[in-house]
């Protein structure tokens, strides 16, 4: 396998550019469908890309007084690069001849946590009471959903008999049936869907950036290209998270499965008001976590 092909795989297809395009289109779909639910027309097709171009090439980047400048600039860049890395790792498992590093669950889940951590850092470094409150909320939110996420993943590991690389899990599902078609697998799938909503920061879990309470939460002081990096991260996550869930539970990824998950995200977002942080923690720990434990027990029993 040539270096050229490797670079092509990483940067163009199914790497960075591809993921960015899909993420952008997903973001457009999200806004468009939201608009239709609300009896509006909605934005034009290229809107997410216009937003990005504007942030990167037209707007000035303002760095507030008194912040730690290297840190302030690094945080969005790290968030962005970890998001790209995750998505590349996920998409590359579909290339049979791919020789590079094949990801396992643990690496990917850690990489998924980094953008959220960056949001915390962003809020903390901004020196603004609203953004620091936002980052403290994000911290609580991570603490509440990560546990549930791991429970849900362990069900998958138990079901596949201890496999942790994505390709193995995929092959397992191709040989038998997708994990979702079993009782414990279904529970794990539901848990993952809710965690996905929280990881994406969508209503009802957009607690950290609650516009009406905290303006934009951790992002409040970011402008221009740095805000652009956060936007791109967001678009990419909008692709890679559903893709990840789809690989784990639905036995692979194709456009229908992806759209199904996306529509779920959008409908969930538009039919619920925002929760309070205390309610969110209670919801994850006292309702979803016990459900996850039941799922694990069922999975061990082989159901």
């Amino acid at each position: 396998m040539s270096i050229g092909k490797l670079i092509f795989n990483f940067l163009i297809y199914p790497g960075f550019i591809f993921v960015l395009l899909v993420g952008g289109i997903a973001s457009f779909l999200e806004r468009k469908i939201t608009a239709r639910i609300q009896w509006r027309v909605g934005p034009p097709f290229l809107q997410p890309f216009y937003d990005l171009l504007k942030l990167f090439f037209v707007k000035e980047t303002v760095i507030p007084e008194g912040v730690n400048i290297p840190f302030f600039i690094l945080v969005p860049v790290i968030a962005f690069s970890s998001a790209v890395l995750t998505s590349v790792l996920i998409t590359n498992i579909f290339i049979k001849s791919f020789q590079g590093f094949t990801a396992d669950l643990i690496v990917i889940v850690y990489l998924f946590t980094i953008p959220s951590l960056c949001v915390i850092f962003a809020g903390a470094v901004s020196k603004n009471p609203l953004s620091s409150l936002g980052s403290s909320r994000e911290m609580k939110l991570i603490l509440s959903y990560e546990l549930v996420f791991w429970t849900s993943l362990s069900i998958v590991i138990i079901k596949t008999g201890g496999k942790i690389t994505l390709r193995d899990i995929l092959t397992f599902q191709e040989n038998s049936k997708p994990i979702v078609f079993s009782l414990s697998g279904f529970i794990a799938f539901i848990l993952s869907l809710i965690v996905m909503q929280a990881k994406l920061g969508k209503v009802p879990f957009d607690i950290s950036e609650a516009e009406q309470e905290l303006i934009a939460g951790p992002y409040i002081e970011y402008s221009g290209a740095l805000l652009g990096f956060f936007k791109v991260t967001h678009y990419i996550l909008l692709f890679s998270l559903p893709a990840f869930i789809s690989v784990l539970f639905l036995g692979g990824l194709n456009i229908f499965k992806y759209l199904l998950l996306l529509i779920f995200i959008i409908v969930f977002e538009n039919t619920n008001p925002r929760l309070k942080i205390t309610q969110a923690i209670r919801f994850f720990w006292f309702y979803l976590f016990p459900l996850g434990i039941i799922g694990i027990i069922l999975a061990v029993k082989g159901l």
Binding site: T34, I37, Q38, W39, R40, P64, E65, G66, N128, P129, L130, S132, L133, S136, R137, V203, P204, D206, I207, A210, E211, Q212, E213, L214, I215, N270, T271, N272, P273, R274, L275, K276, I277, T278, Q279
Partner: protein, 556 residues
């Protein structure tokens, strides 16, 4: 009741005037003020409306307005104080709701209140020169104070270290107007709140003194865009009270129609915003979509989507054609299905329940103490509605409607009250439109040539509660004093109790639940995204330095 009061107050009464059947003016000595206020407020259970300061040139006069909500009679205590060293005893220890009123009179008239330690500025900024009182008669109309060159944003002092202050406002997306709430928080819990208004102060009371009686209706319309017919309504009622005038029946119905249309559009607007504040944008869009229908009817009647300019002293400015009545009715009734949808959503949605039930509770005692009005008082079990008791020149005494009252005082009840009120409004408009058909077109206004000397009070139940207007005439072309008290002025202050103790997320919806209308509050008055550039101690330092600077400049 009148005899009872006379009996209780006896020799304390200096003069007892009855301007009309429902307006009693009681002149008392200022030494007796506290005693009399206690009797009226505690023993008789009257609601304190507001206090009006008047500059009579030879002396100052302050009128304390008390309302008996069972009969709709207004008892007005009149006290005088000399001009050299004006001061009155404070009543804030008896009535908490008087806090802002005393601060306002202090800064705009320079009248001191003995025993009130909190006489900080309310509406004017810190750079406003000391000793200049804009509502006194020697302050010329149209005068403007120069702004100092360098100004910094300052935040009030008095917060202990180790606590965070969350500024909500003055320019914050929570409210579309500038208002500044500082939430003192410990983690996520709100432990204190400081309400800082004045970003929207426009000096309408003073402006009104420079406008012709008829022009004032347009001015008061611009106090607030959402209650843009309630203020003119109360104002014309006040002038008609002064004139003792009865207007044609057709005008009465038209007044009520436009007033109720405004109530529906205002409640829908609030419902949408409340959804928006809870992060429920779908509710926002749907409610505002329904609201467009009401705005269309308003446009059909008055020619404008907002600012209807329908009120006029002696009647209304425009007629509703009988041929258009049926069209209006069918349009109006088309919103019923949308209202049913909202009602069902509020009743059934578990997340709305979780976010609003037992949140921001205002108990009945506190509600009485803070003198709250309208849909902020009614969920707390206080059944006051000005429409039932004291609106002479309107259709309300002639038709049937109910006033929904609930008992929990939380945000949920505040939502329910407003939704139920919309049904009542639709009922009222339908009845009025039916009666219009039987009346002759064109008979909509009594001619008023001049306004004799005297004083009058008009009240109207605006979407947010009681609007209170007091006017005084010396027989000239303009009012000599025009006092305006909007409902939010009383309601916003109650956040002091209802927002404290909850979390920041609760605070947002609680602050919004009184349907705050700062434009009204400062009549003369909106929230900003406020950036705090400095750390807390730096801010205090800066603020102190600035005070020093200003003092120094003043000495020079």
């Amino acid at each position: 009741m009148k005899e009872k009061i006379k009996e209780r107050l006896r020799e304390r009464i200096v003069k007892w005037e009855e301007k009309s059947k429902r307006r009693f003016y009681i002149q008392i000595k200022k030494e007796d003020l506290k005693e009399v206020v206690k009797i009226l407020f505690r023993d008789f259970g009257f609601r304190f409306c507001t206090a009006t300061g008047v500059d009579n040139i030879k002396n100052f006069e302050v009128i304390y307005h008390f309302s008996d909500d069972r009969t709709g009679i207004l008892y007005n205590l009149r006290v005088f104080t000399d001009r050299e060293k004006p001061s009155l005893p404070t009543i804030t220890d008896i009535i908490k709701g008087a806090k802002w009123i005393e601060r306002e009179i202090h800064e705009l008239f320079g009248i001191g209140f003995e025993g009130n330690s909190d006489l900080r500025r309310l509406l004017l900024d810190e750079s406003w020169p000391e000793g200049v009182y804009p509502l006194r008669k020697d302050y010329e109309y149209g005068r403007r104070e120069e702004l100092p060159d360098s100004l910094t944003c300052s935040i009030s002092e008095g917060v202990k270290e180790g606590r965070t202050v969350i500024p909500i406002g003055p320019y914050h997306p929570l409210q579309e107007e500038p208002e500044f709430f500082e939430l003192e928080v410990f983690g996520e819990k709100v432990i204190g709140i400081n309400i800082n208004i004045g970003y929207n102060h426009r000096g309408i009371e003073k402006l009104s003194e420079g406008k012709h009686w008829d022009q004032v209706t347009f001015l008061v319309e611009r106090i607030c865009g959402i209650c843009s017919t309630s203020h003119p309504f109360a104002y014309v009622l006040a002038v008609e009270d002064l004139l003792n005038l009865e207007i044609p029946e057709r005008a009465k119905y038209i007044r009520s129609i436009i007033g109720e249309l405004e109530r529906i559009h205002s409640h829908l607007l609030w419902l949408g915003l409340a959804g928006h504040f809870l992060g429920y944008n779908t509710v926002w869009m749907w409610a505002w979509k329904t609201r467009e229908v009401i705005l269309d009817i308003c446009e059909q009647i008055s020619g404008n989507r907002n600012h209807y300019a329908m009120m006029k002293i002696g009647g209304v400015r425009r007629d509703i054609l009988n041929s258009e009545v049926d069209g209006i009715k069918s349009k109006l009734n088309s919103i019923i299905s949308a209202l049913n949808l909202f009602k069902k959503a509020v009743e059934d949605d578990p997340v709305i329940h979780a976010r609003t039930k037992n949140v921001g509770v205002l108990t009945k005692e506190e509600a009485i103490n803070y003198c709250v009005v309208g849909p902020t008082a009614r969920p707390s079990g206080i059944s006051t509605d000005i429409r039932k008791i004291d609106i002479k020149n309107s259709a309300y005494p002639l038709i049937e409607f109910d006033v929904p009252v609930l008992n929990n005082g939380d945000v949920y009840d505040k939502i329910v009250v407003r939704v139920l009120e919309m049904y009542e409004s639709v009922k009222i408009i339908n009845q009025c439109l039916d009666r219009l058909k039987d009346l002759k077109e064109g008979d909509i206004c009594e001619e008023v040539r001049e306004i004799p000397p005297g004083e009058g009070i008009g009240r109207y139940e605006a979407p947010r509660g009681e609007v209170f207007h007091y006017v005084r005439s010396d027989g000239g072309n303009t009012p000599t004093r025009h006092k305006i008290r909007a409902p939010s002025y009383m309601n916003v202050l109650s956040n002091e109790v209802s927002a404290v103790g909850g979390t920041v997320s609760d605070a947002a919806i609680t602050l919004a639940a009184v349907d705050p209308c700062y434009c009204c509050t400062e009549r003369i008055q909106a929230v900003e995204f406020n950036k705090v550039k400095y750390r807390w101690d730096d801010l205090i330092k800066l603020s102190q330095e600035k005070t020093k600077k200003i003092r120094k400049r003043l000495r020079e």
